[in-house]
Symmetry: C3
Amino acid sequence: MDNSNALPISGPLDILRKVSPALERYTTEVLIGDVWRRPQLSARDRSILTLSVLIARNQSEQMPDYLDAALDQGVKPGEIAEMIAHLAFYSGWANAVAAAKVVQPVFERRGVQAGLLPPGDARLLPVNRPAEDRRHRVVKRKFGEVAPGLVQITQDVIFQDLWLRPDLSPRDRCLVTICSVIATAQTAQLAFYLNRAMDHGVSRAELSELMTHLAFYSGWSSVYTALAVAKEVFESRPD
Amino acid sequence: MDNSNALPISGPLDILRKVSPALERYTTEVLIGDVWRRPQLSARDRSILTLSVLIARNQSEQMPDYLDAALDQGVKPGEIAEMIAHLAFYSGWANAVAAAKVVQPVFERRGVQAGLLPPGDARLLPVNRPAEDRRHRVVKRKFGEVAPGLVQITQDVIFQDLWLRPDLSPRDRCLVTICSVIATAQTAQLAFYLNRAMDHGVSRAELSELMTHLAFYSGWSSVYTALAVAKEVFESRPD
Amino acid sequence: MDNSNALPISGPLDILRKVSPALERYTTEVLIGDVWRRPQLSARDRSILTLSVLIARNQSEQMPDYLDAALDQGVKPGEIAEMIAHLAFYSGWANAVAAAKVVQPVFERRGVQAGLLPPGDARLLPVNRPAEDRRHRVVKRKFGEVAPGLVQITQDVIFQDLWLRPDLSPRDRCLVTICSVIATAQTAQLAFYLNRAMDHGVSRAELSELMTHLAFYSGWSSVYTALAVAKEVFESRPD
């Protein structure tokens, strides 16, 4: 459900025209006219990436235009609900609460009832026990003495609960997390989540295009820093 | 003065219920129901950590709920005044000015008069001369040629003035600074302030719990990056 | 055109007086009374640095006072228009759109017409072909396989278009970019732009003073991280 007519106008173009004609041109010709139409990622995926960056960088005021576009392009309200919860953990609680305040009137206007959203106690996906045990063992060996409480919460709440909630796919959670990590300059955490994304079937071409899209929303500098990590991850894997 | 009834509801729960039932559950069960009640740090300390992250990340709009909780839990108005000045230097002037704008009506509503706040020309604590001379010598050797003006201001204004203002303890200034450094991804500055905190009597258990608390407010990624530094600092010290 | 009377009052001083007398004193005595008057950079340059940090950190709400001061000190409306477009790429589209929304009423109040701003299709400065070919070759060798699309856009849109728009000088674009890189903790990108600035005639003394100014607006931690890079760059160059 990739509807080009619903491409988000990123910010009111008439304001850009009055303040920065250069930015108006780059917005219409490059960002909307080219980047959003590139076939390597769907407009639905691009909406998820864009919203993730806006939430992770606490730019929720810019969300409304993108939210409507996202819902028109097939992102489900339940997926947005789960992205907000997911990013509470990865980018900070206040970011998620600010996002919820912006999303609430949009959901109301579009008739999205709370009863249609994934319940708090959703039935979880099965855990991949060997992979999760391996992850926990590595983290516990590194940080079990430094922060035993946090290592336990990371296992119980993040990897055996949040990531297993079914209404945002593990593949999409990887994309959301990678966006958050890049947008908040947390380079040291990136390799883990790039590998996790590839383990969940995200292709190199998709990750490469994620970087291209994020250059516009998270900034060129953040993405070039991330490319160095992506290069190492890509070269380290046989697939 | 740890008053559990005054635990901050982090964001209006009824909005979370309508937008992200998952986030509502994590907020009530995990963040309020567990993290804020963990005994390793008092609710008063947790309020200082939380406010520090909000100011350092320019999320002052989320401050009012936390401010009232902080004042109810025993954080003094003068301590908040000093935190704002401290974070002007560590996270940027605009962050502090934005925070002041949010705090002003809260102080007014609660009858906090300017006359009760620490004066601009407060009588300073005595400087620890050998330690400060050592710090200045190291910094001057490294950066004295690159940025002589800044190295001088760092000595005169930061370490021989700001840090010696008596209405926020050196111990609390260490916590505030560590929160700012983690929340703004300034990993390279973290080891210095973790060591400084331990020199001022902050225990490993408290720093570990600071990391756990910050995972929720500054985001999981930022804290896992910080844990690697904390581990090195802990292992490098005999105490 | 360095008009000391137009020095920006950074935030309403009467609010600071009611909330943090310490911050009021540091603002009047240190920031306005000393830093903004230091001769190593003009007030015009300091305005460009300050606005760049505010846009890069999405603190546009603090912009109005600084904008009026900037225009009074000789920053041209067209330069502000170009800074916004430049920072869309370096710090993210949403930052630039938020800035445009704040600048628009200021331009309107001061009678700045869109027709006076640099057009979207401005006639470009000549490209420095050998330098640009060298840059592209290095980036293509490193990231051409990982992100071919982005490497191409970087050449076509950033270095053969944006940087060649004549209404913000290459020297000023270097300063703006360095501010964005420091303010968003993108340390890995800093050496490239410090070298680029020096290639465009920015002196060590000016870069050193940029760091001093940014300590106040981007925060002490971010600047000390940057100093380590500046030191390496300075020592690596014969000039």
